[in-house]
Amino acid sequence: MAEQPCVDLSKTEAILGSYPHEEPSLIQVLQDVHRAYNYLPCDVLVRVAEVLEVPLAKVFSVSTFYKAFSLEPQGDTIIKVCTGTACHIRGAGQLVEELERKLGIGAGETTEDLKFTVKTVNCVGACAMAPVMIVGEKYWGGAKPARMSRYLAEGGSDEN
């Protein structure tokens, strides 16, 4: 396993403390961990396996099965381009291409300065506004490649 930077485990302990120590808690714990660190650090997975008494292999299996989890550090702002059917036929692909031109990264990748991660997601359920892009927490409906700079500049805010 590649060397991971040391992370502060106290956040993990706090999360583990709020769930029963059993296998059914695993996904919920990993979700909270993911939110706290913005990815699943290796050391944390080891600790989670230990405390929940789930084999590490199983923790790894769950961590790689679900799309919500990343084993790599992610950018501060996550850009999700919806590629559901409605968005697909209204030009979601062009948004992904424009991001590639603007940021130099494809879907599933993170910029070197850890500022942005680009993801494609299968339908966020906002199909009536297709194509939809989510920058941080901000939803952009009827998104157009030509307006990408604006989305990137404004979207990182904490607005809900």
Partner: protein, 628 residues
């Protein structure tokens, strides 16, 4: 306040209705995900500020309410004024003072904010008169857009938990089951299994402990009815589940919500907390002696978890891999105990069925598909949004009367229903009445109610490839026919769209499809070939053109398509600005030209051209031109 008896509930109900009646005037601001994206929160705050500032709450009994999704997301933020029933679309916060001044105090309508009917450009003031709303019959979505989803009292004023009180105090669990059977309701998540039959089978299974689950893992791309219900009327879901649990004698419930629906989780959680406080959930519900509680579980972002056995594994903290169903989950489901899993829309209908009676529900719909059904009408259609209609409504009525027809009046090509398990229905079947059987006969399925309208600028081979790519990514990989079948099929489709198709590809696709249908473990794999087979059935000539002519008739597949500007270009320069690769040359008011060496065939120019002066042609002809 905790409600501890039938009488106390009746008193609470009366009080809630009185409060509702006391509010003479109301501003309803839609705060669904769609409208929030366009600034609905700011609009609601601006109204609240204006009302407080001018003392209008006391003076004219004016209140503002943030509601769930009105369904008409494309025109958001939406604001409805009661009692007039006036609808304003695309309202921005900065216009709120003007609206309060003119419309609320002055009784004057601001024409620019009214809905403009794309059919005749008429502006329609009344909510109920807009064709999009006029034709709907709402059961599962009865209170969405009318109530504040975070206010239990408001929900109760609109009949929430009335069905539960009736079930607990006037009916035995078996009578509840009979009533659901009378309604003829079938599962709203896809396959359409009879709700009552599922419940009976679970109830008959041995054991004391059973579970009631709600499937909120609405994964079909293009469908969002469940999201809107969970966000806009979470109490309807809770009420249905409590009634179901009472009928089954279950005490534990879970709602499994997709990771992509954060607002649904927040609103459901708040509703659960409120319901517990009011004695509607938890121990000794309404003093009836019946105990039942619900927990929310967030999914991890896996489409396959919408499948029942995968969902139950995921709830148990494992990877979401389905199992073979020799034994039904009604007998051995979550933690190997008897379990009933129903879709969000199914649960949302139960309260209304008990309250109004099964016969009322069964009076709507067709012979075997009773009641109403929610659909998300999206894609290349003028009025996109969420609708609920009686079963048996024709596709033509839905797309043309409610949807207003195809965007930009382009020719209609197909409507895709049922998500990745469904298919594409062509124009000659537009008069098909929509119910479970008819859609299946047409090679598609009901699925979770997504309806994606496609115009002539949609390539059916590309659409089929899209679903294959989707499923290849989402296949859990447990069984070979699904995992490998999808991969091989996707390989063939990649060749087709890139101009590498070979004679015999169509037959190879059909062979693979038959193997997957026969050998896959779960419905994901079994139904995966549907989008492919239905497009092959109705649009075979498009496949043949991709193979024999190296051409994409719709002009979508990039490797096969070139673009050119025709002589009637008036030089408006719009395409010049839209082109991402600067492949277009031309000065304003003069004929523009596309440089084929720079063009990536994305079609951005064609989509924006106001005079329809850009055409597509097979790329293969470019080579011919060079030789000449």
């Amino acid at each position: 306040m905790r409600i501890e008896s039938k009488d106390q509930f009746a008193a609470f109900q009366a009080q809630a209705r009185e409060r509702e009646a006391g509010r003479k005037k109301r501003v309803l601001v839609c705060c669904g995900t769609g409208c929030l994206a366009t600034g609905a929160r700011e609009v609601a705050e601006a109204f609240a500020y204006e009302i407080a500032e001018r003392g209008l709450d006391v003076e004219i009994g004016l209140g503002v309410k943030s509601t769930g999704c009105h369904g008409f997301c494309e025109r958001g933020p939406l604001v409805v004024f009661q009692p007039e029933g006036l609808l304003y679309t695309k309202v921005q916060a900065k216009r709120v003072p003007e609206i309060v001044e003119k419309t609320i105090l002055g009784g004057e309508i601001i024409p620019g904010l009214l809905y403009k009917n794309p059919a005749d450009n008429e502006r329609i003031p009344a909510y109920e008169e807009i064709p999009f709303y006029k034709n709907q019959v709402r059961v599962a979505m009865r209170n969405i857009g009318r109530i504040d989803p975070t206010d239990l009292t408001d929900a109760v004023a609109h009949d929430a938990y009335a069905g539960l009180a009736k079930a607990l105090f006037e009916m035995t669990p078996d009578e509840v089951l009979d009533e659901v059977e009378t309604s003829g309701q079938r599962g709203r998540g896809g396959a359409g299994f009879y709700t009552a039959r599922k419940w009976r089978s679970c109830k008959a299974a041995p054991g004391d402990r059973r579970f009631v689950l709600c499937n909120g893992d609405e994964g079909d791309p293009g469908a969002f009815k469940d999201r809107s219900i969970m966000e806009g009327d979470p109490h309807s879901v809770l009420e249905g589940m409590i009634i179901g649990a009472y009928a089954l004698g279950a005490h534990d419930g879970y709602i499994y919500v997709r990771d992509e629906y954060p607002l649904a989780v927040v609103n459901l959680q708040a509703a659960i907390v409120e319901a517990r406080k009011a004695g509607l959930l938890g121990e000794n519900i309404l003093g009836s002696g019946f105990d039942f509680d619900i927990r929310i579980s967030r999914g991890g972002g896996a489409f396959v978890c919408g499948e029942s056995s995968a969902l139950m594994r995921s709830l148990a903290g494992k990877t979401g891999e389905p199992r073979a169903k020799y034994v039904h989950s009604t007998e051995k489901g979550l933690f190997d105990l008897p379990t009933v899993l129903n879709n969000v829309e199914t649960w949302a209908g139960i309260g209304a069925i008990i309250h109004h009676g099964g016969a009322w529900f069964a009076s709507m719909g067709t012979a075997r598909s009773k009641g109403t059904k929610a659909f998300s009408l999206v894609g290349k259609v003028k009025n996109t949004g969420l609708i609920e209609l009686p079963m048996g409504t024709t596709l033509r009525h839905i797309i043309y009367d409610i949807g207003g027809g195809v965007l930009k009046d382009r020719p209609f090509k197909a409507v895709q229903t049922g998500g990745p398990s469904g298919g594409c229905i062509p124009e000659n079947l537009l008069d098909l009445p929509v119910d479970y059987e008819r859609l299946t006969e047409a090679g598609s399925m009901m699925g979770s109610g997504g309806m994606i309208v496609m115009d002539d600028r949609t390539c059916m081979v590309d659409v089929a490839r899209y679903f294959l790519a989707f499923l290849t990514e989402e296949s859990c990989g447990k069984c070979v026919p699904c995992r490998e079948g999808l991969k091989q099929m996707l390989g063939i489709f990649d060749a087709l769209v890139e101009g590498r198709g070979r004679q015999g590809d169509i037959e190879r696709i059909e062979t693979l499809a038959a193997g997957m249908q026969l050998g896959s473990l779960c419905e994901l794999g079994k139904s995966a070939p549907n989008p492919v087979l239905s497009t092959l059935k109705y649009f075979r000539s498009e496949y043949e053109a991709h193979i024999a002519d190296r051409a994409c008739p719709a002009g979508i597949c990039r490797d096969l398509t070139a673009f050119e500007i025709m002589d009637d270009c008036d030089g408006c320069h719009v395409c010049f600005k839209a082109c991402p690769t600067n492949a277009i040359e031309g000065t304003i008011k003069e004929l523009h030209v596309i440089h084929h060496d720079l063009c990536i065939s994305c079609g951005a120019c064609l989509d924006v051209c106001p005079t329809d002066s850009i055409r597509t042609f097979p790329k293969i002809e470019l080579a011919v031109r060079e030789v000449v």
